[in-house]
Symmetry: C2
Subunit: 406 residues, 2 copies
């Protein structure tokens, strides 16, 4: 008898009928003889409804109270799914983040899981129950309710799977697996049977919306077998593997993009040790995630320019922090642009193949797409372009690297 | 500096504007220098919305999961009110029942408070915060979420006031105090400046909707100074007192009624010791509250009839339990009627005055109202009548006892 953690997102539990359909799926999985822990998100639309209520009351609702408010979304879903399971004759019990004891730090809205107590969930499983756990939420040491930020339910699922040493963690989404590119943008995109965790990480980090980076990192750290599959149709989905590269590793496994990005540049800062820290330290202290960072020196006056990208939601906040920093450093100016997109080619095969970058840059140039920033890692090359070119860039690269062919 | 507990019901926090208005009231109270704990209900309509969702999923949702679901209602309100207070410059922090540690028994949907840990609330008060507490909810020993049943937020407020030894517990409602009768039914009804807790208990038990019986019992037990007042207009409301009867105690302080009642009769049970327990024990085990109980012996065949009243919501459940009991006892038959109303005259002065009962019965007879059941206590006489006579009976008695005159 294996233990399986399943996770269903907001769309999969979007209304009462869908919740009942999820109950059927869970019962079918349990009928195979496995123990089941099911992690769910808020019903789609609910988080927005609650956020709007908060903003009707306050322009800047305290993060602590926003978490108290938003966490009710998942609590409603766990109750309804448990009711649906019980109504269909399957013993089930719900568990909030606080009841499981999913302990996090105290960074409201972006909390990180520190540890999970598996006592209660184990006891309920031993009692023959399906345990339905609220995703996205936890409690800090003082029992304050915290939320994990966007995509947090994936992280909850993976963390539960790690804590319970589950056989597999299945993330049910509205797509049936990980594709070589977004099928909405690229009709020829193909589903991958399996993908390495590093590739998945780069794809997720570069904005493929299937899984949140943090959940993949978590899975990689604890080697949780992770499978992405559709909650609406049958199919094996895509398995995220931890094995060494296969013999005939394809060079590029996929093209990822991210449209909710913004970039900020501070110009004319002194070119001296510690300058990057002085600029990016305060940004990080404000819990803003920075992705690409580029620093270069202007030959003329010996000052440096630093450019970095952040999520578009954090753009205004980052801009005002950067303005303060600029004043302190006597920088020349701060400029920002929130009409950018990030596109990346990803593949572990890239390590051993030269010429990927030049092929990428040439393909984009052939379509007249200007590259604003470039950043590379061992298995990924990312570029920033004007967001109006995003779709064209993704399609061009998908074709250029032959991902449309088996 | 005194500590005040305030409680605002669902109508008072029915939308964002009203929540902001409550915030203004709280701030005004705090400006007088008092420490404030504010207990709130779910926004009006929210509990119904959630209950409907549950019933879409399941005909008989498990009580445990229903509590998980319903308790989100108050959690939303505490977050929004805390946001509104902070937005207006008043430091405030929300607390769920679980966070306070309002410990209850495990009777989901009708849980009773066992104890309240005041540590966290005291710490937040010491920190200069208004503490906004979710009414209606608690946790049992295993951290399962429980709810206290109808009117439970009043009970939460009184229990918090008792635990914190508050100076006063103020229950804000949509009426401006306790009246000699329901002003909607009796235009001449007058607001009482003060009322003894015994009178209030009898009034509440007999269905005056201002306060729930349990909360008044609780207040009486811990001698919590309790004041009922309007959340929409200024005014002193009605103070519930614990002092001995005043010298010139009016004979009757008010007329109460309850329309959501049903009665059940089991006929032809053996007239032997223990019979009442055999009948009412299983009803009580099913957590159905019984109000009036009447037992009498039929002279002819030596068997007894037992009649009792329950809340209309419990009627079908009580009926099916009674059918089983009837079979076990070989009773002649079980009959029920859920079209009844209960009307009571209440007053501590009644103790020392004869003739109240006969005056009551004669007034009703003069109007052609048939009395189905009679029950008396030291300070109350209740009758059950066909519910179509309810309004007429209340008005007739209000006039007969001179409550329309100062």
């Amino acid at each position: 008898m294996a233990l399986i953690v399943e996770k269903y997102g907001g769309t999969s539990v979007g209304d009462v009928d869908r919740i009942c359909a999820v109950a059927d799926r869970v019962i079918a999985a349990k009928a195979k003889g496995d123990d089941l822990v099911v992690v769910v998100s808020a019903m789609s639309g609910e988080t927005n409804r609650l956020t709007n209520l908060a903003h009707e009351v306050s322009n800047r609702p305290p993060a602590r109270e926003l978490d108290v408010l938003l966490s009710t979304g998942e609590q409603v879903t766990i109750a309804l799914l448990s009711m649906a399971l019980n109504a269909k004759g399957c013993k089930a019990r719900s568990c909030t983040g606080s009841q499981v004891r999913i302990r996090t730090d105290s960074v409201h809205g972006k909390a990180r899981i520190q540890n999970i107590d598996d006592t209660r969930v184990r006891a309920d499983l031993d009692d023959g129950c399906v345990v339905v756990v609220a995703g996205f939420q936890g409690v800090d040491e003082q029992q304050n309710i915290t939320t994990l930020g966007r995509g947090g339910s994936d992280t909850t699922a993976v963390a539960m799977a790690a804590a319970l040493k589950a056989e597999e963690c299945r993330i049910y989404t509205d797509v049936d697996g990980v594709y070589t590119a977004d099928p909405h943008l690229v009709p020829d995109a193909r589903r991958l049977e399996r993908i390495t965790v590093e590739e998945m990480l780069e794809l997720a980090g570069a904005g493929t919306k299937v899984l949140q980076t943090r959940s993949v990192e978590f899975a990689g750290k604890y080697k949780v077998p992770l499978r992405v599959l559709s909650s609406f149709e049958e199919g094996p989905g895509t398995l995220i593997t931890y094995e060494e590269s296969l013999m005939e590793q394809p060079m590029i496994s996929g093209i990822a993009y991210h449209s909710d990005e913004a970039k900020l540049t501070i110009r004319g800062v002194p070119d001296e040790p510690g300058i990057a820290y002085q600029i990016l330290g305060p940004i990080s202290d404000a819990h803003i995630n920075v992705d690409i960072i580029i620093q270069n020196v202007s030959a003329e006056d010996g000052t440096a320019n630093v450019t970095f990208t952040v999520h578009r939601n954090d753009f205004q906040k980052a801009l005002s922090i950067l303005d303060e920093i600029a004043e302190g450093l006597g920088a020349a100016e701060v400029v920002g642009d929130d009409n950018i997109a990030k596109i990346a080619v990803v593949g572990v095969g890239m390590r051993s193949h030269a010429g990927i970058a030049s092929k990428m840059f040439r393909s984009l140039a052939d379509e007249g797409i200007n590259i604003q920033m470039i950043s590379t890692s061992e298995i990924k090359i990312s570029v920033v372009v004007d967001d109006k070119y995003m779709e064209l860039a993704v399609r061009t690269l998908h074709k250029a690297f032959g991902l449309d062919q088996e």
